[in-house]
């Protein structure tokens, strides 16, 4: 059902947990199936220097959040805001069609975390 890249990120998710000393945090809940993703970011000189996630959801949600933390690494806040659900799916080399919304959640939580950071400043 899932390709090896998704399986890898599901089996060995990167950057899991609460990021101590994070500059901003965001939560997104999937209105359809009720799953939850938290994202934590640390920003230095306008770039995301460190991030971590927690996910309560299917394997696609876990893999999407994991790869999201890789996608935003060292990105400027503007660049991070440009990441879409398609970017996440592309980085995972595809998801089953019933799982597209899980990648959407990962993109949403990135945007929300950046906005929370900008609002705080």
């Amino acid at each position: 059902m899932y390709n090896p890249r998704v399986v890898d990120h599901f089996n060995n998710p990167r950057n899991v947990g609460i990021l101590d000393g994070a500059d901003a945090q965001a939560s997104v809940e999937n209105p359809v199936c009720g799953d939850l993703i938290n994202l934590y970011i640390k920003v230095e000189d306008g770039r995301i220097k460190r991030s971590s996630f927690q996910a309560f959801g299917c394997s696609a949600a876990i893999a999407s959040s994991s790869i999201a933390t890789e996608l935003i690494q060292d990105k400027t806040l503007d660049e991070a805001l440009k990441i879409t659900s398609d970017t996440v799916v592309g980085a995972l080399e595809g998801l089953p069609s019933s799982k597209m919304h899980c990648a959407g959640m990962a993109a949403d939580v990135i945007h929300k975390a950046v906005k929370n950071y900008l609002d705080k400043k």
Binding site: F10, F56, G57, I62, S98
Partner: protein, 397 residues
Amino acid sequence: MKKFIYLDHAATTPVHSRVLEAMLPFFTERFCNPSAVYTVAQESRKAVDGARKTVADILGCVPRDVIFTSGGSESDNMAIKGGALALKESGNHIITSAIEHHAVTESCHFMEKLGFEVTYLPVDRYGVARLDALEKAINQRTVLVSIMTANNEVGTIQPVAEISRIVKNHPAGRGRTIIFHTDAVQAAGSLDINVDRLGVDMLSLSSHKFYGPKGVGVFYLRRNTPFISWQNGGSQERNRRAGTENVSGIIGTGVALQLAEENREHYVRHCTRLRDRLIEGIMSAIQDVHLTGHPTERLPNNVSFCFEYVEGESILLSLDFAGIAASSGSACTSASIEPSGVLLAMGVPVQVAHGSLRMTLGTDNTDEDIDYVLSTLAGIVERLRSISPLARKSAHV
């Protein structure tokens, strides 16, 4: 060979070797249409009649009350639609439970579109239909009641005989017929399915749930029960279900049900022991778990749990990687992205229902299988919890 432990027998079972053996000749040398007049075709006719007699003996009915169908779904459709439509002059009210299989529920929705009213009886927290609600729901317009013998997701066994007494003795039904149907698809091979002891007018079976072939089932229709046939054509099955018989499937059904019945005591003992080992093992190894379904009135092969803070699809995938096949009622496993209505009807909170896992045992499962599952599952749940924001102890980076 890669490890493969099959714990999804409620979804389907493998065809028993003796069943397959009995079926095979009917694909080739004994291929004749049982309706044909020549001598060789009479062999097919005789074999179909023999299977019908076998099924009838196990159900405790006469052979003519046994109709072969394409499976559990068709039998359920026949019951709800064929029964209620036959009685439409006498009423337009159907009663079922909130935890039926989709084949019953969706048939009821169809009848609603035709102007019928349907009461979906609530269940208690173990998934047992509320008999007080049934008593109250039956009215002057009630024509059909359908309650499953045992639930496919959580394994809860319904008090079918007691339900029958309530339906049949209700004052609102005096002097007219209220049909009582039960979906016994999950019960065959585990429970007594004698139609008189159950007190049912209609009953559904599906062969692939008891080591028979897929795509064939049984619809029991008690003599003189109002019924409108809506699969029309030839006069097969005494005009109640048109179409050339699935001869090999019917032969397989007869043999499979016979074997299941002969083996029932042993099967129940075997599965119950493994089931209880698995349940106890999980409860003692993993915190924040809930056994779903009835603690004792449950199918001998059903182990179903909700694990808090984690989601079922990710448990299933992890089990799959470990060579274990199971199932879940989580929203994330269904194409509709809706959680199991059965768990919600039992009052399980949506978030907890997310972490549902069903493992259903079969004849071939062993103590080693249980050991392996127990040695694997706790680690899987622990790993997923370490990722979850809901878990009690969150990891930090």
